[in-house]
């Protein structure tokens, strides 16, 4: 194991896959000479040259479509969006061209590619730069959607995504780029579609992804001191969702909390609630609770921003609430 930042883990994943497969190339704004707006592509231009590390104009719709066309012809583009907010300019190409063409062509035309970049709130950048797109993309057949938390998963899942013959939406988090985690030495691939139990527990299941895994783990520590044993699941992949992991956990704990930064309406938590309703109706000892970002555009003011985003304490409060309700029932 080596302590590695998420940023370097992502870079290593791309570099390793580019060494392995000459059809893999990186394309996006500032990915080459600037070394990445968040330095995720640092050093790639030096190692692989301008042919395979391609700086684009500011033209998301255009370069996303161009990359899909390159994938139609058998290349394996890794498309960096400076942030996922800007990919709304390109969402038609991501869905109508990349996600649907395999089906519309009766299985003939593949789009083996990755769309990646930071997703969700950063810090004090306001509403247009602070949105979580997890549920937007997780809604769509033809895509795989990945949102890792730690560096090992960031590396292993990005390598899997680059090798995947389908379009993969890879949601990173800017605030995690500089955080270090242990990463296994050598070849490390994490399969898409598998959640991870980050902490075992018996009283309540907390399901989270991306930076919210941090809040879930911190909450689990605090709850331990109060005698509540929380199990923490890192979903890692949002499509296809590892339903079985959630089901197995809730059969043990009988209580369920989802945590996400995105808005509550039709969010990932809503999907988990639907799974709870359909698969776990008789297992729940308390109604599931969704901890989400507030249903507002993200404000700039420091105090308001803090109020709008989910926190460790929100998760603790949710766990207390549903665990107490069981105590009352008993």
């Amino acid at each position: 194991m080596t302590a590695t930042t998420v940023r370097v883990a992502l870079r290593d994943a791309m570099a390793e896959e580019m060494r392995r497969d000459p059809d893999v190339f990186v394309i996006g704004e500032e990915v080459a000479e600037y070394q990445g707006a968040y330095k995720v592509t640092e050093g790639l231009l030096q190692e692989f040259g301008a042919k395979r590390v391609v700086d684009t104009p500011i033209t998301e719709h255009g370069f996303a479509g161009l990359a899909v066309g390159a994938a139609f012809q058998g290349l394996k583009p890794v498309v960096e969006f400076m942030t996922w907010n800007f990919a709304m300019q390109a969402i038609d190409q991501i869905l109508n061209s990349a996600a649907k063409t395999l089906y519309m062509s009766g299985g003939q035309v593949k789009s083996p590619m990755v769309f990646r970049g930071p997703n969700g709130a950063a810090s004090r950048v306001g509403a247009q730069h602070s949105q979580c797109y997890a549920s937007w993309y997780a809604h769509c057949p033809g895509l795989k959607v990945v949102a890792p938390y730690d560096a090992a998963d960031a590396k292993g899942l990005l390598k899997a995504a680059i090798r995947d013959p389908n379009p993969v939406i890879f949601l990173e988090n800017e605030l995690l780029y500089g955080v270090s985690f242990d990463v296994p030495e050598g070849e490390h691939i994490v399969p898409i579609g598998k959640a991870a139990v980050k902490k075992q527990g018996t009283d309540v299941t907390i399901v989270a992804f991306s930076i919210c895994v941090k809040y879930a783990l911190e909450a689990a520590e605090k709850l331990k001191a109060e005698g509540i044993s929380a199990e923490v699941i890192d979903l890692r992949t949002l499509r296809p969702l590892d339903k079985q992991c959630i089901i197995d956990s809730v059969r043990k704990t009988h209580r369920l909390i989802s945590v996400e930064e995105g808005w509550p309406v039709a969010g990932i938590g809503s999907e988990i609630a639907a799974i709870a309703m359909e698969e776990l109706f008789d297992e729940l000892d308390a109604p599931m609770v969704r901890v989400t970002g507030k249903d507002v555009p993200l404000p700039y003011a420091a105090n308001l921003e803090k109020l709008a985003l989910p926190t460790t304490d929100d998760v603790v409060a949710a766990a207390r609430e549903i665990c107490q309700s069981r105590a009352r029932a008993a």
Partner: protein, 352 residues
């Protein structure tokens, strides 16, 4: 702008002017060194498109084809002339008025018609429909229903061709309507910046659905749309198949030589409505009749072949019979091929 693109911009006016000379709107045809056999093949290919589309219109009327169905009748010389100048291995991508492009790429008429009827024998197993058909084998990449979205895709296909060091190129067809989409200009910029082997073909049939070019373009000279990006352009009479072929030959040579993208504006006309549900009330009967009577690409080319002594009535009849047989067989296949099995609902969503 990169040095390469600036260079292309500097070169473009001369190239543009040279190729503009092939605009033969006022002549019936241009001279061509194409062999007699190849010229007759052009007539046959145009006639196949027309008869195929007429049959598609009939099947639509009978309720065998659903949804949207956009016919190419009137525009046959465009794709026929251009694809005759292309080489095996060159890629093609277009918008939703795509049946003709598939025929011109050598795709089997049976598979196209069966896709229109939504049957398993269709090129997309019945799951794509009229607007979404593909053949990797024939390097035909759709068939796209979002107007303008195929232009970045075609540009990316050319990016891949250059990346792989191939000398193939990509024909990217779209209409006068699509040419107002922002992503078209985004594509022009990148194609020129990176000198990609892509040919942009604007099939200007004068109407974007019901909106005329006059009402939708601040400048009606669509062949100049690439000029700000250093992409040379040429305007061609799309009712004259030889003019289209000769222009395409020069453009293809330019692009294949690695000199970057080119734009062709091919002036044409569709006789039918935008789709089957369009009565085309935005234009006069007289306008349509004038094209059919005086400018029709197939009739004009027949007259030319006859006058040049390359074909006679007997030869025309032979072609007509051959084409009718192909279309008849395609229609029968499209009726008889079964609907996709219910299990097909769940296949081809993800690649394994």
């Amino acid at each position: 702008m990169s040095a390469a693109a600036t260079k292309a911009a500097a070169k473009s006016p001369a190239k543009s002017a040279a190729l503009k000379s092939v605009d033969t709107a006022k002549k019936s045809s241009v001279t061509s060194d194409l062999s007699k056999e190849k010229q007759i093949a052009l007539l046959r290919d145009m006639l196949l498109i027309r008869r195929f589309e007429e049959k598609a219109g009939q099947l639509y009327g009978m309720g065998l084809i659903g949804g949207f169905c956009h016919l190419y009748i009137g525009q046959e010389a465009v794709v026929t002339g251009i694809q005759a100048a292309a080489r095996e291995g060159d890629a093609v991508i277009t918008t939703y008025r795509d049946h003709a492009h598939m025929l011109a790429c050598g795709m089997d008429a049976k598979g196209i018609m069966a896709e229109l009827t939504g049957r398993i024998g269709g090129f997309s197993k019945g799951k794509g429909g009229s607007m979404h058909m593909f053949s990797v084998e024939r390097q035909f990449f759709g068939g796209h229903g979002i107007v303008g979205a195929n232009v970045p895709l075609g540009t990316g296909m050319a990016f891949a061709q250059k990346y792989k060091g191939s000398d193939a190129l990509t024909m990217t067809y779209f209409g006068d309507g699509a040419s107002n989409q922002g992503q078209v200009f985004e594509s022009f910029n990148m194609a020129s910046l990176w000198q990609l082997p892509v040919i942009y073909i604007i099939e200007n049939n004068e109407y974007a659905m019901g909106t005329s070019v006059k009402r939708s373009h601040a400048s009606a000279e669509l062949y100049k749309l690439g000029e700000p990006f250093g992409i040379p352009g040429v305007q061609v009479n799309g009712m004259d198949v030889l003019a289209v072929y000769e222009a395409a030959k020069k453009v293809i040579a330019h692009v294949r030589a690695g000199k970057g993208p080119y734009l062709m504006e091919v002036k044409t006309y569709r006789y039918r409505g935008h789709s089957m549900s369009d009565p085309a009330k935005y234009r006069s009967k007289k306008e349509v009749e004038d094209y059919k009577e005086n400018r029709d690409s197939i009739n004009q080319f027949r007259k030319y072949l006859e006058a040049a002594g390359m074909a006679n009535e007997a030869a025309f009849k032979k072609i007509e019979d051959e084409v009718k047989a192909i279309v008849h067989e395609a229609a029968e296949f499209a009726k008889e091929s079964p609907e996709p099995d219910a299990t097909e609902l769940w296949t081809d969503i993800l690649s394994q």
